[in-house]
């Protein structure tokens, strides 16, 4: 499987996936940390995360997959939602809680 297939499989098999720098416990970047905090505030208990610092191909590949240049990136039910700015904007309006409801 090539990198794009691996990413596709990851976001399809997991309802909520966060591609980030570091882990949920130990984020390595302020934006990734913010993304984890927002998901926790939405009541997501266990967050499926992919640490892009562990895999250079995923780190580059995820940017091509979404055509979005920055990390973190949130996927819900296989769909690219956005980075931490978008997550925060959706969290403030209540939209993110709706999207994540029941997952």
């Amino acid at each position: 499987m090539d990198t794009q297939d691996i990413i596709k499989q990851t976001v399809t098999e997991n309802p909520v996936v966060l591609f980030m720098k570091g882990s949920a416990q130990f984020p390595q970047c302020g934006f990734s940390s913010r993304a984890v905090q927002i998901l926790k505030a939405c009541g997501v208990e266990t967050i499926k995360t992919v640490d892009v610092l562990q895999d250079a191909e995923i780190r580059q590949g995820i940017k091509e997959f979404s055509n979005w240049p920055t990390i973190p990136q949130l996927y819900v039910k296989g769909e690219f939602i956005g980075g931490s700015d978008i997550m925060y904007e959706m969290y403030q309006s209540g939209e993110l809680q709706e999207v994540l409801q029941g997952l």
Partner: protein, 82 residues
């Protein structure tokens, strides 16, 4: 270093905005963008639209980073103002 006014002009030149606020320190900028062109678009596509307008300036690092605080349609913006 560029001014918030300049960043504002760059965005306004490529996107028809009914309301536009830009704050920043010359490197990191924060924009609130209200445009009728956002209607019917998901948030991710609204952000893409704004980022596309200034893409070359981001690539050249003239604008180091732009966070979009809010990307709303005029209707949504009006409701937010209460």
């Amino acid at each position: 270093m560029i001014s918030t006014e300049q960043v504002k002009q760059y965005i306004a030149a490529g996107l028809n905005c009914s309301h536009l606020e830009v704050e920043g320190d010359g490197h990191h900028f924060y924009a609130t963008v209200v445009s009728a062109e956002f209607a019917g678009k998901r948030l991710i596509d609204r952000h893409r639209l704004v980022k596309e307008v200034i893409a070359t300036r981001l690539a050249s690092n003239e604008i180091h980073a732009l966070s979009i605080v809010k990307a709303a349609t005029p209707d949504e913006w009006e409701k937010l103002q209460g």
